[in-house]
C-alpha cells in the first residue's frame, strides 16, 4: 500500500480519494511518516496529525509549506535565527487558500534565510541535502520544498520565488516549479524579502499537479494591495502537441560561458523534442539580461533592507543586549541575521542611502523597465521564451559559499522574468551526470494556462522519471 500511495501523483491521489480507493487519513499518515523520517533536513516542523475538518477539491492531499509563510500557532522561522520559535497569530492567505481547498498542512520546509540564497546553505537550521545526491545542494531558496517533493517526502509543496527561488531548486531537484505572474497569488502572510518581486507558487512532481495546486492558490486578496484577480480559471493541461507554437531562445545568453555542457545538451535535446511536437524554435535577444542580474542585486537587497528593519527585538523574535536601545538593536540584528542576510541589508542600505540612490536604486528601476520592455518585444513575436533554468546542475555543498557573486550568477536565467513580473515554469528536461536539468518556459503576464499546457506536452514527450530520488542513497 505504501508504495502505491507513494507512486501516485497528487492529481492521481485526489482521484483515488474521490473514488474511495484511498482515504485522507492514509495519505496523510503515509507522508507524515516519510516527512518524520526526513534525512534531507527538508523539514523544520512536521504536523502530528491532519486537522479534523479538511474538505475540498484537493481531497486531503497534504502540502509542505516553505517556512517563509506564516502559519497560526506553528513555528514560522523563515530560516532565520532571529525568528527562532516564532509562532505567528495568523495564517498566510496562500496557505489558507490551500487549506480551504482541502490540502492540510503536512509540515514547514527549510529554506535559505529570508529566501536569500540559491543553495539552501544560508539556513540557520542547517543545509538541505539534494535527494539525488546528498553531497550536493538542492538549490534555493525554496530548497526544502523542492527536496521534500523530489525525495518523496511530500506530494507537493508551496515555495516562493523572488529571483528564481522556486525554479532553480525545482531544476536542481528534478521537480516542476511554477513562478506566477506578479500579483496573481497573495503575498499576505509571506514574510517579505523583496516586495516588488516576491511571488508564491507550487513545487510539484509533475505539470498536472502544478496546475491543480495553482488553481487553488490564485486570487485577489483584499489584504494584499498588489494582488490581482486571475482573469481565467486554471485548467489541467491535456495538450500533446505544440503545433503552431513558437519558442524563442535568447541565444547569446544561453551560449554564455557559464552553461555546463551537460545542461546545454539537455536543453538542445528539449528543443529538438519541441520541434518534433510541432513547435517552431527561433532565436531572440534580451540585450539587457546581464544588467538585469545587476539590477536585481540592487533592487532586491534595497527592499530587503527595509523589509527586515522590523526585526528589531521589540515585539517578537530574538533580543540581545538590553543595556541600551542602540545596543539592543545592533546586537540583536548582528546575532540574529546570518552573513548573507547581513550582506544584503548592507548593500541595500547603501543603494538607498543619500548620494547613492540615483546611481543604484534609481538606475536599477530603470533597467527593470528596459527588461520588461525587451521581454514584451520577444513575446510580440513568440509564444514563449525558453532557456535552461539553471546554468548548472546541483553543485556540491560548500562549493560556492566562499564566493557570493558566483552564487548570484546561478540566477542569470531566472531573474529577467522576476523583474518583468511575468510567469515561468521549470520542468525536468533530463539528467546530466545523473543529476536533473531543468527547462524554463516563460510567457507574458497571465499566460500560466498556456505555459502549463506547453510544459505538459513537453513533459509527456520527455518522460522524466523522478522516482529514482525517492530512496536514493549516494
Amino acid at each position: 500500500m505504501s508504495d502505491e500511495i507513494q507512486s501516485l501523483s497528487a492529481v492521481a491521489a485526489v482521484a483515488a480519494i474521490a473514488d474511495g480507493g484511498l482515504s485522507r487519513e492514509e495519505i496523510f499518515a503515509h507522508y507524515r511518516s516519510r516527512a518524520g523520517a526526513d534525512e534531507l533536513n527538508a523539514f523544520t516542523w512536521v504536523a502530528e496529525q491532519a486537522p479534523a475538518q479538511i474538505e475540498g477539491p484537493l481531497g486531503g492531499v497534504p502540502v509542505a509549506v516553505k517556512d517563509l509563510f506564516c502559519t497560526e500557532g506553528i513555528p514560522s522561522q523563515a530560516g532565520s535565527k532571529i525568528l527562532a520559535g516564532y509562532r505567528p497569530p495568523y495564517t498566510a492567505t496562500a496557505v489558507a487558500n490551500l487549506e480551504a481547498a482541502g490540502a492540510p498542512l503536512l509540515g514547514k520546509t527549510n529554506q535559505d534565510e529570508f529566501a536569500m540564497g540559491s543553495s539552501n546553505e544560508n539556513s540557520a537550521y542547517g543545509p538541505v541535502l539534494n535527494p539525488w545526491d546528498k553531497t550536493r545542494v538542492p538549490g534555493g531558496s525554496s530548497g526544502g520544498s523542492a527536496a521534500a517533493v523530489a525525495g518523496g517526502l511530500a506530494p507537493w509543496a508551496l515555495g516562493t520565488d523572488t529571483g528564481g527561488s522556486i525554479r532553480q531548486p525545482a531544476s536542481l531537484c528534478g521537480v516542476v516549479g511554477l513562478k506566477p505572474t506578479y500579483g496573481a497569488v497573495s503575498r499576505y502572510g509571506m514574510i517579505a524579502f523583496a516586495s516588488s518581486l516576491d511571488s508564491a507558487g507550487p513545487l510539484t512532481r509533475d505539470v498536472s499537479d502544478a496546475a491543480l495546486f495553482y488553481r487553488h492558490l490564485v486570487g485577489k486578496d483584499s489584504a494584499d494591495a498588489t494582488s490581482v484577480a486571475f482573469p481565467e480559471s486554471i485548467e489541467i493541461p491535456t495538450a500533446e502537441r505544440l503545433d503552431g507554437i513558437t519558442l524563442a531562445v535568447p541565444t547569446a545568453l544561453v551560449d554564455g560561458d557559464g552553461v555546463e555542457p551537460g545542461v546545454r545538451a539537455s536543453f538542445e535535446a528539449s528543443l529538438e523534442t519541441a520541434r518534433q511536437l510541432g513547435a517552431t524554435v527561433t532565436s531572440c535577444e534580451i540585450p539587457s539580461a546581464a544588467h538585469a542580474l545587476s539590477a536585481y542585486y540592487v533592487i532586491a537587497p534595497a527592499e530587503a533592507s527595509s523589509n527586515l528593519s522590523r526585526f528589531d527585538g521589540v515585539r517578537y523574535g530574538l533580543r540581545r543586549d538590553e543595556s541600551n536601545l542602540d545596543a539592543m538593536y545592533t546586537e540583536t540584528r548582528h546575532d540574529g541575521f546570518g552573513d548573507e542576510v547581513k550582506r544584503r541589508i548592507l548593500i541595500g542600505t547603501y543603494a538607498l542611502s543619500s548620494g547613492y540612490y540615483d546611481a543604484y536604486y534609481g538606475r536599477a528601476q530603470r533597467v527593470r523597465t528596459v527588461v520588461a520592455k525587451e521581454l514584451a518585444e520577444v513575446f510580440a513575436g513568440a509564444d514563449f521564451i525558453v532557456t535552461p533554468t539553471s546554468p548548472t546542475v546541483a553543485f556540491g555543498l560548500g562549493a560556492r559559499t566562499a564566493d557570493p557573486l558566483s552564487m548570484y550568477l546561478s540566477d542569470l536565467f531566472t531573474i529577467p522574468m522576476s523583474l518583468a513580473g511575468t510567469p515561468a515554469i521549470s520542468i525536468p528536461s533530463g539528467l546530466s551526470e545523473g543529476l536533473p536539468v531543468g527547462l524554463q518556459i516563460c510567457g507574458p503576464a497571465f499566460s500560466e494556462n498556456r505555459i502549463l499546457s506547453a510544459a505538459y506536452a513537453l513533459e509527456q514527450a520527455i518522460g522524466f522519471n523522478g522516482s529514482a530520488a525517492w530512496g536514493a542513497k549516494r
Binding site: 545587476s294 540592487v298 530603470r366 527593470r368 557570493p404 513580473g421
Partner: protein, 95 residues
C-alpha cells in the same frame, strides 16, 4: 569601493553591529558585489522611466470598516519583554 568608514556609516543606518574582526572581510565582499552591479551606472537610461510597481492594480484601496483586533495577550505573546500590557524596551536616549 566601499571603505571602512562608509561601511560603518551604512551599518549604523541599518542598526547592524559589525565587530572589529568582521569589518575588513565585509568591506571586501561588499566591494566585489558593488563593482559587479556598478555596471548599470554606465547604461544610458535618461529617457527610461523607473519601474517601482509591476502590473496595474486599480482596486487597491480598503473600505473604512472595522476588523477585529488581536486580544492583547496574543499581541504580546511573542514579545521578548512585557510590562503593564506593553512591550518593554530600553528607553531611547535623550528622552
Amino acid at each position: 569601493m566601499i571603505d571602512r568608514d562608509e561601511l560603518l556609516h551604512v551599518a549604523r543606518l541599518a542598526r547592524l553591529a559589525l565587530h572589529e574582526d568582521e569589518l575588513d572581510s565585509t568591506a571586501a565582499e561588499l566591494s566585489t558585489i558593488l563593482e559587479h552591479v556598478a555596471a548599470i551606472k554606465e547604461l544610458d537610461l535618461d529617457d527610461v522611466e523607473p519601474t517601482a510597481h509591476i502590473g496595474d492594480v486599480s482596486d487597491s484601496l480598503r473600505d473604512d470598516s472595522v476588523a477585529t483586533s488581536l486580544p492583547v495577550e496574543v499581541a504580546l505573546a511573542p514579545a521578548p519583554a512585557v510590562r503593564d500590557d506593553g512591550f518593554l524596551v530600553p528607553s531611547p536616549q535623550g528622552e
